[in-house]
Symmetry: C2
Subunit: 287 residues, 2 copies
């Protein structure tokens, strides 16, 4: 089964929520930290979050920066988290945003689509051009792996490069999206989407509609829900019949326990938050 | 001492060579591999290369992708290599090309400018905009650390995004370089360069001259010498009086032993190659 069909299928069955495991050590409640090393505490926290949310989520996005920041010990927790997700047959998006070319890109592909840090999807940065994406194609063409490439993000800095107007009449991010669509048109799955998707932030209504219509075969990874300001209505614009994208929430889910002041129930609070998010987006899609 | 002044000083004293430690396990000769784990073999190879080249080189660039590809064991060799370089007071450029924003960028800064993987400079990707560079500014402002941001690379894919013509009359990479210059003008070192430099590949003569003149305070990290086709004459265009940049060679130096078929003398061959490169660029600068 093509990995993009698997992801599509998960969204059909479980909804669009992507649980972001951007786990900082200060997110972990004291009772989990007690008697554990940093690496063990982070893994234990992730494990309980995964167990509490997997059946109401499409996939998990693991932000490697949080683990790299803790050095080898952090990367050990990263590996254990990925191993655990794989053992449960959960879909893993490694949020690595790597962007390099030639032999180096092949090394990154090997690093994150095989071996210790094997994921199902990686996030990639296209600044150096399409030869920073092409070295991953063999993994996409056999249907086993996929990627989400940075296209249009919702941070203020998106104006600096992504939204520059090119003399051809397009914006930079549209040039990127066009090239990605062209590049992946031979490996579209049965669900109608390609395994090379785009990272698309929620911005404004007109742009959202235009992006969804223009890139019909592109599956979207949509960050910024909740803590970063995106609403269910914003998100619905980027979906097609409630599929064609996954919506990431990290702190909104991981730290849901802080809103009710119940650290010992962090996993149950995360589950409740994921369900609330899933249902709010389902409702918004219907409207 | 500001890190950029230290690098400038090294170039004055030792020349412009940056030794690229993009160490794949198949670069390591058998006699080094024998009786060692992969991690130990890579570190031992790097250590001997460092010992043989440091006094004829300005700095070392360590390409993390090669180490990530070997998982935790590879990253252990990466850490040991960085530790060893630091113990010798050598300047380290961590070639990580990370590009993310906000809390995530701060985590990457913590990961690669502190802790297990502490380097002096990191390479960064600007696709998401200047808010993917700003979180590193506190490290630059106190003069302790620096960065090289992807600006204009020499791979074919550079045409895809970097060289797009923007409606303002600039190219995308010029927009990036302008913003970097603006951002770092308050922290220029005594040498006249800012600690936020640019990754600039060798392309063609007119462009090289224009880039050097336009970005007077920008220190360049120039990849692509030797194995990737750049000549001493190409490189000289991007320097100012033989300084203002470092020129990276990885395979050219690491695999110099293969040209003469003397694996047991890999370190001496690397030294010879680094000296040859340094002198060829010195000559070209004079012309």
């Amino acid at each position: 089964m093509n990995i993009i069909d698997k992801l599509y299928d998960r969204v059909e069955k479980r909804g669009v929520v992507c649980v972001g495991l951007d786990t900082a050590i200060d997110y972990v409640p004291d009772h989990i930290k007690e008697g554990r090393s940093i690496s063990e505490a982070i893994f234990e926290f992730n494990k309980q979050i995964i167990d509490a949310t997997y059946d109401v989520s499409a996939c998990f996005k693991v932000q490697i920066a949080y683990y790299e920041a803790l050095g080898l010990e952090g990367l050990n927790a990263y590996k254990k988290t990925l191993d655990y997700l794989r053992s449960k047959d959960e879909i893993i998006i490694a949020d690595i945003k790597r962007g390099d070319i030639a032999a180096t890109a092949k090394m990154y592909a090997k690093a994150h689509l095989e071996g210790d840090f094997e994921a199902d999807f990686v996030t990639l940065s296209p600044y150096m051009g399409m030869d920073s994406i092409e070295p991953y194609m063999p993994y996409f063409e056999n249907g086993k792996k996929g990627a989400f490439v940075l296209v249009r993000t919702s941070n203020p800095g998106a104006d600096d490069i992504e939204c520059l107007d090119v003399t051809t009449g397009k914006k930079v991010f549209e040039v990127v999206a066009d090239k990605l669509s062209e590049m992946s048109k031979e490996c579209i799955g049965e669900c109608g989407y390609a395994p090379v998707g785009g990272v698309i932030g929620c911005t404004h209504v007109e742009e959202g509609k235009k992006i969804r219509e223009s890139y019909n075969n592109m599956f979207f990874l949509i960050p910024g829900y909740g803590a970063q300001g995106g609403t269910a209505e914003d998100v619905a614009l980027y979906l097609k019949d409630g599929n064609g994208g996954v919506v990431n929430s990290s702190r909104g889910i991981l730290l849901a326990y802080k809103k009710v002041g119940k650290p010992e129930e962090f996993a149950a609070c995360a589950r409740e938050e994921a369900i609330k998010m899933r249902d709010a987006i389902r409702e918004a899609v219907k409207r």
